[in-house]
């Protein structure tokens, strides 16, 4: 299935939205104006975008501690996102959730999650709902490589297969779980090796190539929509920054040249080169997109800055319906 120019440009735009949102959030954090922990998505943009562009608004996704990218790619409102990260009343969670719990139910984004692996069972529940109601919606569970060592992931993967649910498992293999290289936490190199243990197909894809991700995701999603059950898409990718925050080079747990080598394969820049090469877009057009999104992010930041913190009487609101 050929992608239209429009689709390609939409993916380009979406990746830039993530990149700039994250870089900006990281910078604001450094000024001390943004509370809590920020697990930034920079470097992995092709995954969220490639997958979410294969989804409809009414499809569901669950996410992780590294969740901003998924929400942006699903169509998240940058202003409400930035406001949430700053703990403001206008944020997606009224300031109560923050980075690790950002979500937008109207976009089918069922939440970032602070507990490794815990989103996958929830995606299975959304998939169950879709099958139960006989809709053709699917659900996608995003998770990291290191998260596949936790029990909840395993139970979710098997449950989806046993109940034959329309769920796509998307692994973002960035080679690390916090400060531990994943090859010290498991002896297999590829997460797809686990798919067979649940009886679902698995495919490895270059997670720095948004078109490749999109293609694999499209196939997996179509399969799920057709009622043919779950599958796993493993995207080999890399986070540019530290586990949290924006520190980049000089971290003792991973070599600088590894970081630099991955940056050579930057998902946005390599994609831009292709767009230009194939005549889909001019440099000027792409630059205009950057500028436009820069402005949108600035505006989001301004919105967040201008927004009030939640009032103290909001403390107990929302604990129960």
């Amino acid at each position: 299935m050929e992608l239209t120019d429009e689709q390609l440009l939409a993916m380009h735009r979406s990746m830039i939205r993530i990149r700039l949102f994250e870089e900006t959030a990281g910078k604001v954090m450094e000024t001390g104006k943004m509370p809590g922990f920020l697990h930034l998505y920079v470097g992995q943009e092709a995954v969220a975008v490639g997958v979410c562009e294969a989804l409809r608004v009414d499809d569901y996704i669950t996410s992780t501690h590294r969740g901003h990218g998924h929400l942006v790619a699903k169509g998240g409102d940058l202003r409400r996102m930035m406001a949430e990260l700053m703990g403001k009343a206008t944020g997606y969670c009224g300031g109560k959730g923050g980075s690790m719990h950002i979500n937008d139910l109207s976009l089918g984004m069922l939440g970032a999650n602070g507990i490794v692996g815990a989103g996958a069972p929830i995606a299975v529940g959304a998939g169950f709902r879709n099958k139960y109601l006989g809709t053709d919606q699917v659900s996608v569970a995003f998770f990291g490589d290191a998260s596949t060592n936790i029990g909840a992931f395993h139970e979710a993967a098997n449950m989806a297969c046993a109940l034959h649910l329309p769920v796509v498992f998307v692994c973002e293999h960035n080679m690390y779980g916090e400060y531990t290289p994943t090859n010290k936490a498991m002896v297999i190199a590829d997460i797809v090796d686990r798919a067979a243990g649940y009886g679902m197909p698995g495919v490895i894809v270059d997670g720095m190539d948004v078109v490749a991700v999109h293609e694999a995701a499209t196939e997996a999603v179509a399969r799920a929509r057709r009622g043919e059950g779950p599958s796993l898409v493993e995207c080999k990718t890399y986070r540019y920054f530290n586990h949290h925050g924006i520190q980049n080079l000089g971290l003792k747990y991973r070599p600088d040249d590894e970081v630099l080598a991955w940056k050579e394969r930057d998902p946005i820049f390599t994609f831009e080169a292709k767009l230009i090469d194939t005549g889909v877009a001019s440099r000027e057009l792409l630059d205009a997109t950057w500028a436009e999104i820069h402005a949108a992010i600035d505006e989001a930041l301004q919105f967040a800055d201008d927004s009030p913190f939640p009032a103290e009487d909001q403390m107990l609101a929302g604990v129960y319906s």
Partner: protein
């Protein structure tokens, strides 16, 4: 008209068991609302190892009565994902002890989702389970762990003591838009009681004075609330007139009914089956003394299990679980306690 004002149906004359009342509630909710389904281990074809879902799959089919793999975390997750996307799931954990296997999904996910999402989500999820000792099922199949989840904001905890309450509270739990942990007691399943045929709801968060009395208040829930009535009858023979308060819902706690009673009787004992140390009785006791301090003629007494895992052997288990005799002893002590003991 608040829920509290809705008149409850008369129990009528039909007697059914505690477990039958539960099944009746489940079936009525499923019949009334196509979004209600059940899922769990052996709940479908087998009807549940305690027969708590007998006949549900026969009546509603495999689509709505789902056997799952042995995956407690994913069972709760399935419920959360389905609930937040619009269904009204009933998910089952075979033994209450298994809440510990799924504790993250219950306490970190289900209970907190709505709050973390800024209050926008609805999470109509009922988690059913069977707790308590008395079958020599030993330390990992006999616990009463309700206190753990009472301490978690965002989930409600219900523990009924009789068939009438089971049916009405289960109906209310399924219709509730917040997660509910609904606990049945395994030794109560065969207990019979009068239960109306029609559907009805007992609002969550309302205690019930199951026996009025004037000398001393006895607060409990679950099987212990049933045993408390037995103890009260014994004590009546001794001239002690006990008012029994059956909490029914532990979280939210209807402390008002308890305090109102204590202000009349001036003496109170809280009884439960869980171990005493750190049990929910402590919260009830702490609130009573906070709110009725000047009315108390004796400390709030507690009757509960000793601080050990549940022993297997009946020789110890029967002495471990508070029974009517031990409850009565606790009440007697509270009544006998001199006003000033210094």
């Amino acid at each position: 008209m608040s829920a509290a004002d809705v008149p409850l149906p008369d129990p009528g004359e039909r007697e059914i068991t505690y477990v039958a009342a539960f099944i009746e509630a489940v079936k009525l909710e499923m019949a009334a609302d196509p979004d209600v389904f059940i899922a769990g281990e052996d709940v479908g074809a087998h009807g549940g190892v305690f027969h708590t879902f007998d006949g549900v799959q026969t009546q509603f089919g495999e689509r709505r009565a789902v056997d799952t793999p042995i995956s407690e975390q994913a069972i709760i997750g399935l419920g959360i994902g389905a609930a937040v996307t619009g269904l009204r799931p009933i998910v089952d954990l075979m033994f209450m002890d298994f809440v510990l296997v799924a504790a993250d999904q219950i306490a970190n996910q289900a209970a907190k989702l709505k709050y973390m999402f800024g209050g926008q989500a609805k999470l109509p999820l009922t988690i059913t389970t069977v707790g308590g000792a008395g079958l020599s099922a030993a330390a990992q199949h006999s616990q009463s762990l309700e206190a753990l989840f009472c301490h978690i904001p965002g989930i409600k905890v219900v523990f009924p003591s009789n068939p009438y309450d089971v049916k009405g509270l289960m109906a209310a739990s399924v219709r509730e838009d917040n997660p509910v942990l609904f606990v049945l007691h395994k030794r109560m399943l065969g207990q019979r009681g009068a239960v109306p045929v029609e559907r009805y709801e007992i609002p969550l968060g309302q205690a019930r004075i199951s026996r009025p009395g004037s000398d001393v208040t006895l607060v409990s829930w679950g099987k212990t609330a049933a045993d408390s009535l037995v103890a009260a009858e014994q004590l009546a023979g001794e001239g002690i007139d006990v008012e029994v308060v059956d909490l029914r819902t532990l979280s939210p706690l209807d402390i008002g009914t308890v305090v109102e009673s204590v202000r009349r009787t001036n003496r109170v004992v809280v009884a439960h089956e869980a171990v005493r140390f750190g049990g929910f009785g402590a919260e009830v006791a702490a609130q009573i003394q906070e709110e009725a301090f000047d009315y108390l003629d004796a400390p709030v007494g507690r009757v509960a299990a000793p601080f050990s895992p549940v022993p297997f052997t009946p020789a110890l288990e029967t002495r471990y679980v508070p029974d009517p005799a031990r409850i009565a002893a606790g009440v007697r002590a509270a009544v006998a306690r001199p006003l000033l003991g210094r």
